[in-house]
Structure formats: structure tokens, C-alpha cells
């Protein structure tokens, strides 16, 4: 037992040190992150509370629907936790550098297993835990249960988190055992695909928007069939739901809690048996070297050279290095799949929007049905911008930090920091522009917007992408993190937060500046309102401001980033 706590000590001390940095040493960062986290938490609470109160207001079926909603939430958590635990376990059990200290020491394999289980659970599940609290709290606020409900929530959440954690860890051990570690990235790709498939499947199954719209169905049976939440007695999400709902509805005790508790305790133990049998062999496999297969193919090299040919030789060298590095580092490119799922979900939601079912004579905010479709398309710009910023924080913002400890090579070479940053900018800009334009084009197609709105959206997202990539490259250079062990963590630091705040601000201002003009244009298009010269002048002025703002976001951060890199000693 002593050894178990000892193994957790370095992680605990390191975390405490990171949190307790004094303001003079950048401690403000932790406070800022905490404040933003709290804001997010409060927003989640009020948002969910609003949704739940509407669900519960559905006559006669409020309780049934509230239960379905809770089952949906828990099922989503469960899927997320399994995937998140698999990814985290790869790192904590197999790739982490400190394992090189632990394995040669006389610590029992089971002790390492349990200590890493705790680290994995904390790393992968804290977010769900934090997110679950406002959800369960809003159930409490709406149902007014006895005080025992609140400690009971914790008692339910702990085993609920342990079940997917143990399953994820066991799956990781088996996967690393099946696939040679040199093909670790293949495993990651496979997992990511499973994750995307799981998410799509889940959304298809759940369709949460139907919960508050029973009138859309012809019969009660049809309604309940449509809100199909997997309700199997074998699902931990159902155990968790049925452990809490009786307490909320004051209807006796929850017998399924025992199943949840038993699974939460039994599965980690089962995992320990697996670890005793398999862990050393798989850990040893994970130490083997990796091979670069795809990126050593002649066709890949030729394609790369063709792509970079128009550029200056030093530009070319930088781009080739970065592209090769990107494809050879699973921790970099595997994130594409996670973001891919985000994009698929994004577009899928547009396809689900019930705009076609709206009555033709609808009249909202002075807009007809067609006008409403176009207005939604315009608001979609903000969402597309946000997705682009989300992708940029993962791929553009870390581009300077990725130089890592070999930054000295560039610093001591005759390449200027200006050239370095611009090469990073252009290399990120092209794929991001394709993504952003693709998102806007496809979602507009789903919305069936008219040509003017389509062109306006495509042009706006073009300038927005310039600004977002400029912000990402520049702020990434101002806050470089050359010593981060895990690439995926670069984006989670203070610089990443600054970038996201600036990006959201930029997107919000652009949307705000264009909202009025877009409304006028839509009215002119759909209801033939005349565009008088004064309105045209105002529209032109607003669009010029958008252009100027995009140019500032594109140019200024990069300039500051260049200066900051030149000052690094």
C-alpha cells in the first residue's frame, strides 16, 4: 500500500507545483484557467437546467423523459470515457518516460498497475466528473430530493467512472499486445475510427432534439420509439441512471446500484490479473523502435517535393521537415480523427435541422422561411469559425512549440525567424482554409441558402481563416512550449487559452459587424427591400472593418511572434 501511494507522489507533487506558481512566475495563468472553468461550469448548469425544465414540463411524460435524458447523458459519458481511457492508458502505462525508473525498481507489477490506474482515471475522467456535477445538480434543483441524493451522486459517479476506465485500460493492454508497438499509430487510427463511428452511432440513436418536441409524432408509441436510448440492463449508463432516478422521484431504493458498485470494484481487480499476465510483455513491445513506412515511400517524397517546389529552398526545407514530422508522429496526426468526428457531427447536425418541416408561411424576426434559412446560415459562420479555431489550437498554435528541443538548429542556422513563422503560417493556412470553406459550403448546401448568402459566407470565412491562422501562429510563437513531453498538451497551456480567447473575440466581432449588413442583404433578397445608398454605404463600412480586423489578426500576432522568437536566448 505504501508503494502504491509512493508511485502517485511525483505526479501529485508536480501537479501541486504547477498549480501553486506565484503570480510573479506566471501564477495568474492558473487563476485565469480556474475562472474560465468556473464560467463554463456555470453556463453548463444554467443551459442544462433550462433544457431539463422544458423536458420535465412535457405533460404526463416529464419524468419518463427526464430519465431518458439522464440515460443519454450517462451513455455519452460512458462512450467518451472508454475512448479517453484508452488514449490516456497508452501514455500512462506504455509511453510515459518515468516508467524507465519504475520498471528497473523492485516494485511489484500490480502496484504499478494500480498506481497508473489512479493516474489514468484522474487524467481521463476529471472533465466528465466536473461536467457531471452541474448536470446532476440541475436534476436536484428540479426534483427537490432529500439531501441524501447529493452524496449518493458521488457514490454513483465513482464506480461509474471506474468501469470504463478499467475496460479502457484492459483494451489498451490487449491492443498493444496484438499490434506491434511500432505500429502504435495504426492502433490510434483504429481507435479514433471506432470513436467516430461510436459518436455517429450514438447521435443517430439519441437525437436529443426530439425530447422536447412530442407534437412532431403522430402517436405516443412513435414518439417513444423515436427517443431510442439504448436501455440494456448490461449498460453501466442505465445502472447509474436507475441508481439516481428513484431517489429523485422518491420511489424507494435503487437495487441496480449494487451492480454498478460491484462492477466498479471487480473490473479493476480483473484488470490487475490481466496486467500480471500481460503487462510486462506488452510494455517491452512498446519499447521497440517505430518505422516510418508511408513517409519513406518514393511517391510521398515526390508529392512533397512537388508541393514545396514553388517556394524558396529554406521554406521548402522547413515545410518538408514539418510535413514529414507530422505524419510520423502519431500524437500529432491522430488528433485529426478526433477533430474529424467533430466536423462530421457538425455537418450531421445541420442535416438534422428540421427547417424543411417548417410551415411555408412562418414569420420570425421579420424573416420568411427562406430568410430564416439564410440567417441561420449566417450564424453558422460563427460556428464554422469556432470549429476552425478548435482545429487551429491543435495544429497551428503548437507549430512553433513542436520544434521542441531542436529549436537551436533553426536558431543557429541562417534562417530568419520571419521566414520560419511565415512558413508555419502558409503551411497551416492552406489545409485550414480548405476545411473552413468545405464546412461552410456543405452546411450551406444542407440549409439550401441562396447564392448571395453562399458567396458572402465563403468570402467571410476566407478572411476569418486568415485571422485565425495568423493568431494561432503568432500567439504560438509568443508562448512557445519547447519542453512539453506530450504534443497534445501544448494546446492546453496558457498560450492556448489566450489564442482561444482572442479567436472567439475575433469571430464574435466579425459576426457582430456583419450581422446588420447580412440581415439587410437577406431582406433585400427574400422580401425585396430596397438597398438605398445609405444602407449600401453602411454595409461597405462594416465589411471594410471586417477586412481591417482580419488583416490585423493575421499580421500583428505574427509580427509580435517574430520579435518574441528573436529574443529567445
Amino acid at each position: 500500500m505504501r508503494a502504491f501511494f509512493l508511485l502517485l507522489r511525483p505526479a501529485f507533487l508536480s501537479m501541486r507545483r504547477r498549480i501553486s506558481i506565484k503570480p510573479s512566475e506566471g501564477g495568474l495563468q492558473t487563476q485565469v484557467i480556474l475562472i474560465i472553468g468556473l464560467l463554463f461550469w456555470v453556463l453548463t448548469f444554467f443551459g442544462f437546467n433550462f433544457f431539463l425544465s422544458h423536458v420535465m414540463a412535457v405533460e404526463e411524460f416529464g419524468d419518463i423523459l427526464a430519465r431518458k435524458l439522464m440515460a443519454m447523458v450517462f451513455l455519452t459519458f460512458f462512450f467518451f470515457l472508454i475512448f479517453s481511457n484508452i488514449i490516456t492508458a497508452l501514455s500512462t502505462y506504455f509511453l510515459s518516460d518515468d516508467l524507465n525508473i519504475l520498471w528497473p525498481s523492485p516494485v511489484h507489477i500490480i502496484t504499478i498497475y494500480y498506481a497508473r490506474l489512479v493516474e489514468t482515471v484522474i487524467d481521463s475522467s476529471w472533465m466528465i466528473f466536473v461536467f457531471a456535477v452541474p448536470v446532476l445538480l440541475s436534476y436536484g434543483v428540479n426534483y427537490h430530493p432529500s439531501w441524501t441524493y447529493y452524496p449518493w451522486c458521488i457514490a454513483v459517479l465513482v464506480p461509474f467512472i471506474l468501469v470504463p476506465a478499467s475496460l479502457g485500460i484492459m483494451a489498451t493492454m490487449i491492443l498493444v499486445g496484438i499490434f506491434p508497438a511500432r505500429r502504435l499509430r495504426d492502433i490510434l487510427a483504429l481507435l479514433a475510427l471506432i470513436f467516430i463511428a461510436g459518436i455517429i452511432l450514438l447521435v443517430r440513436l439519441l437525437q436529443p432534439e426530439k425530447l422536447i418536441n412530442p407534437d412532431a409524432f403522430t402517436s405516443l408509441v412513435g414518439y417513444f420509439n423515436a427517443i431510442h436510448v439504448p436501455d440494456s440492463v448490461y449498460l453501466p449508463s442505465i445502472w447509474a441512471t436507475d441508481s439516481l432516478m428513484p431517489l429523485l422521484m422518491k420511489k424507494g431504493s435503487a437495487s441496480v446500484f449494487h451492480i454498478l458498485l460491484l462492477s466498479g470494484l471487480a473490473l479493476p481487480i480483473l484488470g490487475s490479473y490481466l496486467a500480471e499476465w500481460l503487462y510486462f510483455a506488452t510494455f517491452s513491445k512498446a519499447r521497440e523502435a517505430k518505422k516510418a513506412r508511408l513517409t519513406r515511400l518514393e511517391i510521398f517524397t515526390s508529392l512533397l517535393q512537388l508541393l514545396t517546389r514553388p517556394f524558396h529552398p529554406s521554406f521548402q526545407a522547413l515545410m518538408e521537415k514539418d510535413i514529414r514530422g507530422f505524419f510520423r508522429d502519431p500524437s500529432q496526426w491522430s488528433q485529426i480523427f478526433i477533430l474529424g468526428s467533430m466536423v462530421v457531427l457538425y455537418l450531421y447536425n445541420f442535416k438534422l435541422l428540421p427547417l424543411n418541416r417548417l410551415p411555408d408561411n412562418i414569420f420570425v424576426f421579420g424573416l420568411t422561411k427562406e430568410g430564416l434559412q439564410n440567417a441561420i446560415s449566417f450564424l453558422n459562420l460563427a460556428l464554422a469559425g469556432f470549429v476552425t479555431a478548435g482545429v487551429a489550437v491543435r495544429f497551428v498554435f503548437p507549430s512553433v512549440s513542436l520544434e521542441g528541443k531542436s529549436f537551436w538548429i533553426l536558431r543557429s542556422s541562417p534562417i530568419t525567424m520571419r521566414r520560419l513563422l511565415w512558413s508555419k503560417f502558409w503551411m497551416s493556412f492552406v489545409p485550414l482554409l480548405i476545411l473552413a470553406e468545405g464546412l461552410v459550403y456543405l452546411s450551406n448546401r444542407f440549409l439550401k441558402v441562396n447564392d448571395v448568402v453562399m458567396v458572402l459566407s465563403l468570402v467571410t470565412i476566407f478572411f476569418m481563416t486568415f485571422g485565425i491562422v495568423g493568431l494561432g501562429t503568432g500567439i504560438g510563437a509568443i508562448y512557445p512550449r519547447f519542453n512539453v513531453e506530450n504534443v497534445a498538451k501544448i494546446a492546453t497551456g496558457f498560450g492556448g487559452l489566450v489564442f482561444m480567447l482572442f479567436s472567439i473575440g475575433f469571430i464574435a466581432i466579425v459576426v457582430y459587424l456583419e450581422a446588420g449588413p447580412a440581415y439587410r442583404i437577406i431582406l433585400a433578397q427574400t422580401r425585396h427591400f430596397p438597398l438605398i445608398p445609405k444602407v449600401v454605404a453602411r454595409i461597405t463600412f462594416h465589411f471594410s472593418l471586417v477586412l481591417a480586423l482580419s488583416a490585423a489578426c493575421f499580421y500583428l500576432p505574427i509580427r509580435l511572434g517574430i520579435r518574441s522568437l528573436e529574443r529567445i536566448e
Binding site: 507533487l13 524507465n100 519504475l102 528497473p104 516494485v107 510483455a281 519499447r287
Partner: protein, 250 residues
Amino acid sequence: MVTLQGLTKAFGKFIAVDQLSLEVKNGEIYGLLGPNGAGKTTTFRMVAGLLKPTSGTILIGGYDILKNPIEAKRTMGFLPDRPFLYEKLTGMEFLDFIVGLYGMDGNLAQRRIADLLEAFELTEWGGELIESYSHGMKQRLVIASALLHQPKVIVVDEPMVGLDPKGAMLIKKLFRKMKAEGLTIFMSTHTLSVAEELCDRIGIIHEGKLIAEGTLEELKKLAHEKDFSSVFLKLTGGEDVDKTVKTLEV
């Protein structure tokens, strides 16, 4: 003290270590020498319990590392070629952590930590975060951590990597002192002068196989050479160096 029997490690079709058998006797300094990529680090990682051998056995102090890993590891102190340190811990906290890993007695361990910090000139830095240490200081801290539990055998992979002359001198003196105290040292190196100065016996590994073994004099006799570098180059096919140099002379 350390016995390797038919030790083999294959990575797919590539055999990194091939039927390696050797014995490091009690109280001796044994150097495993070989060019880059010869299989030294793979061998040492198997000895340390970081890699699972494809076949063969490793005995440390009589304990099989696979069958009785806890006892085998307790007997040994391991110094990797690229050691990892928890950057956010202080030197003292790191050593405390190692004390816990090896289950040492508290008071005795604290005295030992103080002694080692002093011996390695780290006393003043004990309370500082490791991330603020210089490369040499980190190296000294790692050595201190490997000696903390008073192992019977020290397994060292490339001990001189990145050390300044003072650091290298310190290591040499330390190894001699440890040998005088009865400790066994099993080290790998490709620095011939280190092997010449320190090792009682030397094994030469090439392409995963032990191709020669003996004292310095025995090896010289075997290769019919007077100086050790010629012996090494002759045994490991290093005559190619001359060819390479000639190619570069344009």
C-alpha cells in the same frame, strides 16, 4: 553476480542480441564494448527489466530477472544512457521517492541521502527543482539515486555520456572506490580509454554477438595488436574507417 545465458532479443526479423552468454564475477568491473548499434543498450535494457528477452536467462545475484524480478532488481542499481528525472521535483524529493521505491529504512536512508548529496556536491541544490539543474548535476543526481539503496551490482549504460572532464574523473574514481568496497560493476561503453582504465575484463559485442572476451592483455594477444584501439577496430571491422576517410579526401 550477473549471468547472461543464451540471451537473445529479436525485433521482428532483426536480431539485436544473438545468443549472448557472459558472466560478471563478484567484485569485478566488466565492460561490454561495441560500436554503435552493436546491441549494448538492448542488452542492458533487458538486464534492467525494461525489455523482455526473446529467449535466454538473466541472473542477477542469483535471481532470475523474469522469475524473481523484485529480488533481482533490489540487488541492482541501474544507470541508463538517457536517464529520466521528474523535473518538477526537487533533488531531495526525487531521492526520497527512490528510497520509497526500494523500501529503505527512513533514518538510515536520510543519512545516506545527505552523504550522497555531499559526495556529489549537490547538498546546496537538494531543495531546488530538478528542472533548474545543469546537465552534469542531473547526471550526478541519477548516479546518487542508483547508489542510494547500496546495491551489490551497478549496471551502467554508457556512463560518460555528456560528462565534462571533472565529471568523468569523478565517475572513474567512484567506480574504483566501489570496486574496492566489493561492488560489482557491469557497464557498457564505446569509450575505449574508459574500458582500458577501469575494466578488469572486457567483452566485445558486434552485431549482437559476443565476439571476444578477456582481460586487456588477453584481447591484445588475441588480435595480435599492441594498442587497444587497434584491437577493437580489428575485431569489429572498424578498418573501414580508413576507407571512409579516404573518400572524404577529395
